[in-house]
Symmetry: C2
Subunit: 450 residues, 2 copies
């Protein structure tokens, strides 16, 4: 059973330039009696359907000391129910030639299948059963913990980039649980138990805390009937409190983290600034940050690449990114890797000069138009991918956005002005709320052990 | 009502070179039926007595989002009970010419009075009444919140050193609640309510979670009788769970924090390393760190001062410190301020060279003997101060130590070897588990806004 852990940044990163729709399909959105939200995205190009359930719970909802629990439970959700024991569900998906997967971020946990259209109702019945019917025994829980630990090894412990990203997040968030890795701290994952998983499951897995997104060759009417016949049979089993996480205090000073690993062949610098998310930003602000990230650093036409790689020839790459899909904070990032013979500090100074210029003078009219066109075009192209569309709506609804906000996104991008971009740069590219990470092969001798 | 917030570091810092007894008075230690521990430290030089109660709860026991609650409750404990309303308690202390105060750390909350011996039982009765009898109305809670916010202003918000220390702790602890300031994050203090305070009070203020320490012109026998007649009347009202806080993950890389404040006239550098506390250290390890801190940096004879100030003439001060009194982690610190015309980086390189030398070669036999003699002498002198002695036992018992461990401390210091000191330096002066703080007047132009 392959399972994906999509950390918030990864998932959203894939989206940033991908999934904002222009010419919208006619989306339907309704709520069942039990509180389950359903979003239907008709797409009649092929007789296939993408079926997703998004629980509004993620790693940032875990109790202190229990990090990794949301992701561990995601894995355990494949262990069967009383009605569909063992891997019945996965076997049925495989038998009909379908695909399935699952993912956990700081804000949500999701499961999906992509199957022939005729098998959708079957998937809905199986997924509905799994909302409350999970059966866990120690025999399945223990080995799965090892699977999760192995995943942590691959993604973080044995991955210098993963290790640095983990330590940078911990330094970026002084108080908010986004500072904990979505996969969990290894020493805490090791202590997770069946009881922990079941308590978390009973508290957060309930129809009134979930969103089902169905994209494909369907109509809202038939989905409504099928949803009532399947999901509609599941009673809510927990009240869901408002999702309020501890907020960040005033961040007072620039931070750095240096990670040395003998496997690093190419040093790099990356910096993340605390930024508002689509959900927390003032109107237009998140869109201005998207445009700014594209103008600064999307590919080889971005300012950072042109300045550091093309003009100055001191770096082998350079870019920027912004990921707005989050319930609370988002991050604005810049990065670069020096050319052989150049230092991280030279590259950092060059990045700082580019950023200072954008803060002072903003971006050009041409950069503005180009970034906006590209973002909107990407959103249109994204409609070609059923799963991407479904994921776009699901992640938005699981992080406090609405269907209307998703639909209005291309217009909001079109409305971004050069002034708004300069203001966003001036407001949010503030070193005091940033962490700069240095990935190096080894610490300087005096840094190593003193 | 003056009240002291002693952050763990401050309290323990005052102790590091102060309160380890050599020629012990005959200490008595017993537990009442209700779980209250009592420690009696006879001291017959004057007809006065120091009476302290230590609750085994501090800022690190607060729920996420409620930082500052332990300290806020400390303030509110002076608001009166049903039996002794308003400031009856404080007025009685004042009327007999006594002194009183209170303090909150990450691990404990304490209250004390120093009064003429004949009034001790009266203090015990008043303090016993206050364990469970507190009455809080909105009329007293609201104004006290402003007092606490004003205290936060003075200690942190308007104090560059305080701001840097706060942000460094948040960067030092990636997961453990010691990363939260003991006084609380300002934005969270602002939201604390009467209900929060009462819930915390009912959960943690109970005889079975407290230690009473009485030092002065008393005998264990009379204290036992008086304790039973006063504290013995209070029934336990809550069960106390083991104090397990989320532990630190592997810390992978050196971190820095830079704090710029226009009021800074003298830049400085400070570095804290995560270290074991007296409670978590292997036998002898915490004592070796004490010796190391003294050899490196206690006053003008320490290595750092001699190297940076005397020999190289690049700094106006330099030192080291270690504070072992904590339930979980402790910190080993080094610091210096450059002479005018010298940079923080020059000073940092000089510190690193001193530390590298100690890691490589350890300290000399003469440094070892001198540090040990001074530590033991300080402990003997500390017995001159009744309140210091009481505080020593109280803080130890509130952080997982025993009376026997306190009494054995001078012998443990005597037993420290040069090898143990070198090993402690090699193990714990590891940059990967450290944060270096730079206090400066202003960020470099490119750091300011990019």
């Amino acid at each position: 059973m392959p399972k994906l852990l999509l950390l918030a940044a990864v998932l959203v990163g894939a989206f940033a330039g991908a999934a904002r729709a222009g010419a919208e399909p006619k989306i339907a959105h309704f709520t069942l009696w039990n509180g389950l939200e359903v979003v239907v995205v008709p797409d009649h190009r092929a007789p296939v359907v993408t079926h997703m359930i998004w629980y509004k719970v993620g790693a940032a909802d875990e109790a202190p000391g229990k990090s990794g629990l949301a992701h561990f439970l995601e894995h355990l959700m494949f262990k069967g129910t009383a009605k569909n024991p063992g891997d019945t569900f996965s076997q049925q998906v495989a038998a009909i030639g379908g695909q399935e997967n699952a993912f956990t971020s700081s804000d949500y946990t999701g499961f999906f299948q992509r199957v022939p259209r005729d098998h959708l109702k079957e998937m809905m019945a199986l997924e509905a059963d799994r909302i409350t019917g999970l059966v866990l025994t120690d025999e399945v829980v223990r080995p799965e913990l090892n699977v999760v630990l192995e995943e942590q090894n691959t993604r973080v412990a044995n991955n210098p980039n993963g290790r640095l990203a983990e330590q940078m997040d911990a330094a970026l968030y002084l108080n908010h649980p986004y500072g904990r890795p979505a996969i969990g701290w290894r020493h805490e994952i090791e202590t997770l138990t069946r009881d922990d998983a079941l308590a978390f499951y009973r508290r957060f897995y309930t129809p009134n805390n979930a969103v089902v997104v169905i994209a494909g060759d369907v109509t809202p009417e038939e989905i409504k009937a099928d949803a009532e016949a399947t999901y509609g049979k599941i009673a809510p089993r927990a009240e869901i409190a408002p999702r309020r996480r501890p907020a960040e205090p005033m961040q007072e000073g620039p931070r750095t983290v240096t990670l040395a690993d003998a496997r690093v062949e190419q040093p790099s610098i990356s910096r993340v600034y605390l930024a508002p998310s689509s959900t927390t930003a003032k109107p237009g602000e998140s869109e201005a940050l998207e445009v700014l990230a594209h103008a600064l650093g999307s590919g080889e036409s971005g300012r950072l690449y042109r300045a550091l790689v093309v003009d100055q020839g001191i770096a082998i790459n350079a870019g920027a990114n912004y990921s707005g899909t989050a319930l609370d904070y988002a991050r604005f990032g810049v990065f670069s890797s020096p050319k052989s013979g150049r230092t991280l500090h030279e590259v950092e100074a060059a990045i700082d000069a580019v950023l200072a210029d954008v803060i002072e003078h903003g971006i050009t009219a041409q950069e503005l138009e180009s970034a906006k066109s590209r973002l909107i075009a990407d959103a249109v192209y994204a409609q070609d991918n059923q799963a991407t569309l479904a994921q776009w709506y699901g992640s938005a609804l699981a992080t406090g956005q609405t269907v209307e906000m998703v639909e209005a996104w291309p217009a909001a991008i079109r409305a971004v002005t050069a002034d708004a971009v300069r203001m966003a740069a001036r407001t949010w590219l503030d070193r005091r709320t940033s962490v700069t990470g240095y990935l190096v092969n080894s610490l300087k001798p005096e840094e190593k052990h003193s």
